[in-house]
Symmetry: C2
Subunit: 520 residues, 2 copies
């Protein structure tokens, strides 16, 4: 049976602490989701959030290839005519082909949170779905707290589902709203109930027990044909079920038709791009799409995976658009170093003095806080320097940075640099938003005249990681810079107790690496 993917990154995902999508963000994300091949995009709750009304207006003007837009709402409020409920009216006014409405299935929630009677709640479900079906909508019924409700009062939870089915809902989506259910419970419950319904069943899981992906997979295994989740598992508390894991599990492990091979290959990129829009770092350790998901560190694993990738990889990274990496680290020893050197086109022999010195320097720098996993271009420069294959393109004589703030005025920064290039002395001043930006500006005033290829290079990412953070403002910091030109992306790194010095080191490496690229 094919499975329909229902993405709620823009609605439930936006509830995550630390996420705040602008309207432009939401439009960008909707386009990415459409490319990825999800079947439904839940865009927001027009009745509760004015920003969402604007989203539905704008998204109507955009031609999506594949996905249907869905607007979300609750059932009508208690003791009210459905036509008079503003929230449901706003839902209809969103003019989407599909709507999702959540209704209560847990008796305790009806009486405690909603403060109404069990029978009124059933009528609320029926009335709301009738109202929406009469207006030609495809209706997805989100059975809120279904599993907790079923455990507490089996009969009532089923009555709520039957009310929705009777009123014409197109999907009955079983929600594990509190995220407390385990895979075997979901398995038992779905197997117990599934024969009582003709309407397709769906699953909506939260990750409070760290089981949302597993619960979703189990639900499909038991016959659910509609899966709700978010990109990168974004969502309130511990997040929603992560579509970036569910999609490859369905497609590669359960053999379920949901996206095309080509769409699956875009998964890593979509995950990273949406993380960027959300302004959150993608976890390196995220299954399938994380930078470390197919990274090999331990010596035994590396030697085995070099012989045959299947030995330590559960799926081929290329299928989800990710890649295998061999990491640089003190645990990895000389064999990884040799693999890297070969990749740089350098000759390095296993027991040579250069290899030994490099391993020693590497360990010493790592003990000071360096992590070449975040700055491989810095690592390549280190290897080249050691092998006598690199001469610096400029040398620092002196820099001086003055930061000043008067009263409530914004602070100002000026950097003065003195450098030597090809035996000649140069100096320049630069202003900037902060000290590192000022330094970069000053440096470029000199260098771009001498090395015009630097004008095509941009700094595309800048990260500061506090290493021994319990030392407060005296903490050591690691700065990682990502740079790009029209063809390549590279990462450099610097460590110091002074954020400016750490940034300087990473900045110099970034520029030197670009200059070296022209010489290779």
């Amino acid at each position: 049976m094919p499975v329909k993917l229902f993405d709620t990154t823009l609605r439930d995902g936006a509830q995550m602490e630390g996420i705040s999508f602008s309207l432009e963000d939401k439009i960008k994300i909707a386009k990415l989701l459409d490319e990825l091949g999800v079947h439904y995009i839940e865009g927001g709750w027009p009745g509760s959030n004015p920003k969402d009304i604007e989203f539905f207006k704008q998204i109507r003007e955009i031609k999506l290839k594949h996905a249907k837009i869905c607007a979300f709402s609750s059932t009508r409020r208690p003791e009210m005519q459905v036509e008079e409920d503003k929230i449901l009216r706003a839902l209809v006014e969103a003019e989407t082909e599909v709507v999702s409405i959540f209704g209560k299935c847990w008796d305790f929630h009806v009486t405690e949170a909603l403060k109404t009677t069990l029978s009124e709640n059933l009528k609320m479900i029926e009335d709301s779905i009738h109202f929406l079906k009469a207006r030609g909508k495809e209706v997805i019924f989100d059975a809120e707290h279904f599993f907790d409700g079923y455990k507490a009062n089996r009969k009532y939870a089923l009555e709520a589902l039957k009310a929705a089915e009777g009123a014409g809902a197109d999907v009955l989506c079983l929600c594990d709203t509190n995220g407390g259910s385990l895979a075997f419970e979901v398995q038992d419950i779905i197997n117990e109930i599934k024969d009582q319904f003709k309407t397709p069943l769906g699953i909506h899981a939260h990750n409070d027990s760290e089981t949302a992906v597993s619960v979703s997979g189990m639900a499909v295994k038991c016959g659910c044909t509609h899966v709700q989740g978010t990109i990168n598992g974004y969502g309130e508390r511990c997040g929603n079920a992560n579509l970036c894991s569910i999609i490859p599990i369905l497609k590669l492990k359960l053999g379920v038709d949901c996206v095309t091979d080509k769409q699956l290959k875009s998964l890593t990129e979509v995950s990273r791009h949406i993380a960027e829009i959300a302004n959150l770092p993608q976890s390196a350790h995220q299954p399938f799409v994380g930078r470390s998901a197919f990274a090999h560190k331990g010596g035994i694993h590396v030697s085995a995976v070099t012989k045959n990738p299947g030995t330590y990889e559960h799926v081929q990274p290329e299928l989800v658009g990710n890649e295998r990496r061999v990491t640089i680290s003190e645990l990895s020893g000389v064999s990884n170093l040799l693999v890297k050197a070969e990749a740089y086109g350098l000759k390095l022999k296993k027991d040579s003095p250069a290899a030994k010195t490099l391993i020693k320097n590497l360990k010493e720098m790592e003990s000071r806080g360096y992590s070449f996993e975040e700055g491989e271009a810095s690592f390549e420069l280190l290897v080249r320097k050691e092998l006598g294959k690199f001469t610096p393109f400029f040398d620092l004589e002196e820099y001086k940075i003055e930061t000043e703030k008067v009263g409530d005025q914004p602070s100002s920064v000026i950097a003065h640099i003195h450098i030597k290039v090809k035996g000649k002395h140069y100096e320049a001043k630069g202003k900037g938003d902060g000290p590192i930006n000022a330094l970069d500006n000053a440096l470029r005033k000199v260098l771009e005249n001498i090395y015009p290829q630097l004008t095509t290079m941009k700094l595309t990412d800048y990260k500061v990681r506090v290493l021994n953070s319990e030392a407060g403002t005296a903490a050591k910091v690691r700065v990682a810079i990502e740079s790009a030109d029209e063809k390549r992306v590279w990462n450099t790194v610097g460590v110091s107790g002074n954020v400016i010095e750490a940034s300087w080191l990473a900045l110099v490496d970034a520029l030197e690496y670009k200059l070296m690229l022209g010489m290779k």
Copy 2:
């Protein structure tokens, strides 16, 4: 049936990209694991890592309350007498009561990675276990790649387990080494095989399919009585099964005896402390123990959870030593603000001009990149200022910071400050590791004389988050500072395009908050 918890944070966890434990780190972590109540602590691989030999030497001198220390190794190498294998000799020399050894169960791995015959591999398992049992060890057999092996060649995978049982292994631990197995597969396989063995079965899962916790829970449900995992799910690639989720699931959801109620209450603290030692931020969204695991943001959830916590919480946060939080954010609206003001002992009415101005300012600051979730003390100061309940303890007239670097010398930093306190003018100079440390030092030279209570206050954490990182070195940064005195911990935040200015704002709030505490 009680379940034995086997922690491998120090061995398999240390394989994680970004982790590098020192010997002192490992000793500290072992003590914390003992407090938490795990039954086994796998300390390392003495045959492969010299640092681990030192760990086993030192840990012997420490009296643990509860946990047994375990050393890890492979079975003997092919075509070798077991007594001559240096790796196994090093294992015995670690002098632990318990040892774990891994042996291959997947025919493909035996012939491809190990390059030996299927029968020699069975003899390697038998010989190694005999050798260890003859030396009085409790032996845990890690059946590497068991599930993949069983799927590929059922007969051979079972022969490997039987070889281990026959040689006297105390536990047969079924490993999902590549992390590719789903809960229903593990369920089917364990149910198929369990009656063929008298030896207790264990589970060791990896998180490559985001299902490691679920797989571990399912294995216990099917009869496994030994569970391996790591704190915070640390481990290679996507990590190992996370004991911080498995322990509460076993205890609170499956009713399995594993740790005491008191030990369970220490879970959040142990998770955070070990994250600190690993020098990695604990994920706020980590189930059970994360800062956001019981945080409520959406308006509906907040009002329901205030009425009855059971409505949106799957377990009580106190049971795992965590706490419920209501977060400050633009999605939350006025009702959360009122809850907070009340907690500060301030009177704020729902429709008052002060409440409206506050909401407006809050939204404006959030749009500039402020996140009061990371700096609630800054938020409290904001509320107090708006209500006229706060007068600054000092005012900046001017600061100036000079950072200088000459050639290869380390950089130097001096900060000059001019401030006004109680109508009088003061100035001071401070040196520091970096600009912010210098500023802090200068400020304290003046302020500690006037407000001696500041001497009891320390900055305990300092974080820099780049907001629009694609702007490179001109990126906006958010600085969050954690401070503490003998009684309390508080968090402040500042945002600017200049890292120094952002730090200054957070630093001033941190000092002001401490001074205000004395006045409340």
